[in-house]
Amino acid sequence: MSPLIVCPACDLAQRRATAPPGGRAHCARCRATLQRPENAAIDTAISWALCALVLLLLSNAYPLVAMQVNGSSRETTLAGAALGLYAQGYASLAALVFLTTVAAPLLQILTVLYVLIPLRRRRHAPGQNAVLRVLTRVRPWSFMEVFMLGALVALVRLAKFAHIEPGISLWSCVLLMLCLSALTSLTPPQQLWRWVERNGA
């Protein structure tokens, strides 16, 4: 490994420093984070990813909320929110919602698992580098926590004139949001590449 590190935010070359336990190494010039402490093991990342995968499946299998008004009832799942937009002819909006709440989180989870599970046994998954590049592109578009806040806003607006029944999936979405945040902070691309390097076949 090169003894020099170049700051991604200001291009300053400086000696590589390891982050203190529980802290971070910052760029001497622009204060950007250069290195996070490595306190996670591959197994920890895998367990968060598996947990998130189960919750994501649950969130799409069960209703998020049900609305009762005038004796009739309507419900939606996580993916259903995107379908509602599609049904109204806004295909691009529907694609955006689907990408950021279902596809990106799912891809994020699957790519992490695909690369890390063989890596535990010091093996490299076929196409590992391409998969990691997909992860790097997809990761910034996983917006689960924003979706949850949006759902809160929608429920507040609806509560005025309808009876709202929270579904199983509402709770699994909250847990999913937490799992995804943990997974995202444990597996920045740089960390994944460090694991790949260290567990070279």
Binding site: V6, A9, L12, V69, G84, T136, L149, G150, F161, W193
Partner: protein
């Protein structure tokens, strides 16, 4: 003040995907030996691409705020809501914390993002050496808050999906929502095409 050693002055390239440091100078079409991503000393055409995205976002900000984002039809009335009137509805129904949240995420944040990116682009064009630390911090804030503007889009998508009770009430999405989503996505992409290292490049270069 002598200029400090930078990746550029030492001929070191940083892979933005995997953060490997690569010795390479400015050879074209160079790839990262570790992850095979394309390597560039600076993101290619960063200022031009980012400017185009920010200008488009600024133009779309107008229809996003003027056109209705949703049309709520009930048996009693037919209500066209823009983003701002949606905030007022929330305010009048007594949920002011939620109203504040939507106001900040949907109106303040996109506007601030467009203005902040404009300031950053202008200072990067001029290679201004002033307030670099503050501008760097400003960019990091733009990166951090950007995604939260999607909040209203999710709220609208849920309302449009749930409120489809035949003859009693229905929510129809308006083109304002499309324009608004476009503003959010364009500014998110703009924050990714902008190369923050340009804020630190010395003025005398080239």
């Amino acid at each position: 003040m002598s200029s400090p050693a930078t990746g550029r002055s030492l001929g070191l390239l940083l892979c933005l995907d995997c953060h490997a440091t690569v010795r390479g100078g400015s050879a074209p079409a160079l790839r990262c030996p570790r992850c095979h991503a394309h390597l560039h000393e600076r993101k290619p055409h960063s200022l031009a691409v980012t400017t185009a995205l920010v200008v488009s976002a600024a133009v779309l900000y107008v229809p996003a705020n003027i056109l209705p984002v949703m049309d709520t039809r009930t048996i009693f009335d037919d209500e066209n809501d823009t983003i701002m009137s949606g905030v007022l509805v929330l305010l009048h129904s007594g949920s002011w914390p939620i109203a504040m949240l939507v106001f900040i995420a949907s109106i303040v944040v996109p506007l601030l993002k467009i203005l902040a990116l404009g300031v950053l682009l202008y200072s990067a064009w001029r290679r201004s050496p002033r307030h670099r630390l503050q501008r760097s911090a400003l960019f990091r804030m733009v990166e951090f808050i950007g995604r939260w503007s999607m909040l209203d889009i999710y709220a609208i998508s849920l309302l449009a999906t749930l409120v489809q009770v035949r003859s009693f009430a229905s929510v129809i999405v308006g083109w304002g929502a499309w324009a608004f989503a476009a503003v959010v996505v364009l500014t998110l992409i703009a924050a990714r095409t902008f190369d923050e290292r340009l804020l630190w490049d010395p003025p005398q270069h080239d």
